[in-house]
Subunit: 482 residues, 2 copies
Amino acid sequence: MEHPFEFPLQLPDRGSRQRMAALHGQLRAAILDGRLKPGLRLPATRELAEALEVSRNTVVAAYDLLLGEGYIEARRGAGNFVADLAMRRSDRRARIDVSAADKRIASYWRSFTGLPRPMHVGTYAHDFRLGIPDSRSFPYDIWRRLSARALRNLSRSASLYDPASGRLPLRQAIAQHISFARAVSCEAEDVIVTSGAQQAFDLLARVLVTPERTVVAVEDPGYPPLREVFRAAGAQVIGVPVDNEGLVVEQLPRDANVIYVTPSHQFPLGVVMSPRRRVELLAFARTRGALVIEDDYDSEFRYGGRPLDALQTLDRDDTVCYVGTFSKCLFPTLRLGYAVAPPWLRTAFVNAKHLADWHGDVLTQDTLAAFIAEGHLVRHVRHMRKVYAERREVLLDALQRHGKGRLQVCPSDAGLHLAAMLDDAVDTPALVERAATEGINLESLNAYAKDGVAVNGVAFGLGMIDVARIDEGIAKLVRLVA
Amino acid sequence: MEHPFEFPLQLPDRGSRQRMAALHGQLRAAILDGRLKPGLRLPATRELAEALEVSRNTVVAAYDLLLGEGYIEARRGAGNFVADLAMRRSDRRARIDVSAADKRIASYWRSFTGLPRPMHVGTYAHDFRLGIPDSRSFPYDIWRRLSARALRNLSRSASLYDPASGRLPLRQAIAQHISFARAVSCEAEDVIVTSGAQQAFDLLARVLVTPERTVVAVEDPGYPPLREVFRAAGAQVIGVPVDNEGLVVEQLPRDANVIYVTPSHQFPLGVVMSPRRRVELLAFARTRGALVIEDDYDSEFRYGGRPLDALQTLDRDDTVCYVGTFSKCLFPTLRLGYAVAPPWLRTAFVNAKHLADWHGDVLTQDTLAAFIAEGHLVRHVRHMRKVYAERREVLLDALQRHGKGRLQVCPSDAGLHLAAMLDDAVDTPALVERAATEGINLESLNAYAKDGVAVNGVAFGLGMIDVARIDEGIAKLVRLVA
């Protein structure tokens, strides 16, 4: 799962002068309307230049202009920081001029400024960023060998018709894997391979949404890209609160047609949907003819406890579409996900996939099929589970010892991150920015709450952090809270 | 470009019994309503089983049932053929029961039975199938080496943020390649990498179409998947005739918002859009604020003549979005295409790509970037151009010598296929079916004409046919015409 952040930067124009102007303009606008708050440390020019793939000179020029105009200030040895603009707040003329305002473009895309791109590029002493698995110990040599073999096979008998649902060996491997690991009820012909879970959501949005009519209920706080995908398709998206049992089913809108849940490890709070809520949710879907999308995004990593089966296992009425991904247990740039759709939905789903991009990359599919069939996936996941489990233990311990009750950990027993709540008096976005200046990278939960649901807390990812850096990072963080 | 055929087969249900029933039912329905005509030879059971990925028993059982019911008949040594149903034509109760009729599915997808899947699986003595390049001499070893190198680089410095528009080295390589080869005006930041040209069309449909409002003009005869993509998005799609200068611009609907053209090599007729029509089309787009989508699908292969630059080169008003693909010059299962969008469209396009599937496969992109940068693409294309040019020459010669004026070749000087017109009296679909029984695989053009435009002819692909088999194939074909 990608981890969105608070600030989108898009440099649409060609030419270094236009790019500098766009960068300057967008930063200036965000400073003026408060999205970039006073005291925020801006990325170093080299890091931002790398992340945006522009020359360092472009970034330096933009920063120089902002410095000259008083929007940012330089603190010797520490970097550039957003200035306090008390005197300039009346100047609200700045608006982001995105070329997407052209009326030839459909209205959603005209106003959509993009999913936020992480502002905190660069390296941190204590990096708790979300959404990234640790791929340093991924067996790349094995992958390379299997990939070469797949290419040799393909070169000998080029397949002429590739089903949109995906290559059969991979679908077989996935079906076996999730039948065993998650008790998902399926065979190879039920599996549809997609370019990541994101494409599965996108295809579901297409086949399920009638613009202006379809109502989609999502967890709130929840996963922003899913919300955007359904909004882009013209659905009405409604957030439903989450408590310590997961989605509060009784607060679902009665006319919900689609319900998106992350029952194994709620994103971002981490709670597990209780058995009672699972039953209630399925009953709701059955009686109202709704479809439940189960996003099982990082269920490979479970820690102790008795793992709950997938929600889909309880489904006797074909109301659940199960979506999974390999991006948390392989290396992150592979785009491989899958869906197990109920029979009534499958044909439309596969047709939508076919029209969207014919079929997924064949070599990658064949390589992954062999990787799974030869047992490498299971071995790698088993190894990573130990690595993450250790980090989780150390993190929980550090939060316990240093936390002084200031950080309430949300119980969870799976996944690649933990969430912790803070007292309402704490300004969490400001805390996160200050933490960045101390070399601590983490996200606030507040950005994930959309429809007025109040949540005040932070999330700690386990993918990037070295186990030796956890304790000191938490200690520093708690000092900032105080 | 995929090559659609006349008959879709979808087996949505799990379980061998349900699959057999679905296969039987769909074949029976198609025989009853005439889509499968009397005398058509059905695929051998083994071939169909492989193509549909079901057990051979399933196909045998379906065929046995059809045999018993009198829908097909067996001719010893020749296979199974659709029976003459003169006596059974009153039985019209059969309707295809697709599970996509569920009302939870948006209406387009409920009625969409899928793009047709080629019926003519198997091997032919004279295989003129469309849409497949000859990848037998593709330098797979070089690709494997570059792929291994890309993986090594990735394992050392896993990139954390991949732009939705594609990896920079690939965008640079594409920009250089098409600036030189097609005179397309662009730099790396103008290029957007997509999962094949099909995804570029799909993303364009999303960002350009307001359901029930947007009007899309397409060439007729034309390319069916493009039509379906825009219909799926809710656009009104209108076919505009093509003559020997290409799209008849003066017959464009005045309110067209989007115009799709294949100016280098019209699909499927093969004509080149004349300079006069190009100027007219761009003037139309400029004055009416329309966007032109230029699909340059197999322009790598030009034969003699002076190659015309891309239409996009003439565009001074940002009205053209240029779409290209690598699927005709690499191996067919790679999904790599690209778009060069005008600045006002680019941001929305990239945002739509981001929401659709984040970004394309990184390893494949890096491998292709190196493949292009090291000159392998140019070398391979140069080699294949000679191969296809020879086949084209032999084909033109055979058509000239055997044709007896019965086949009028449509002039074209590029691409992977040729079209030839037949006299109106010839029943081309029947001819194509009879040709299949004689080991000749080719497509009729008739299926590509949608809005009442009459076209009667056949298309010959250059991708699969061995040069030694051309002459005999054409001779046999012409005998069948007579």
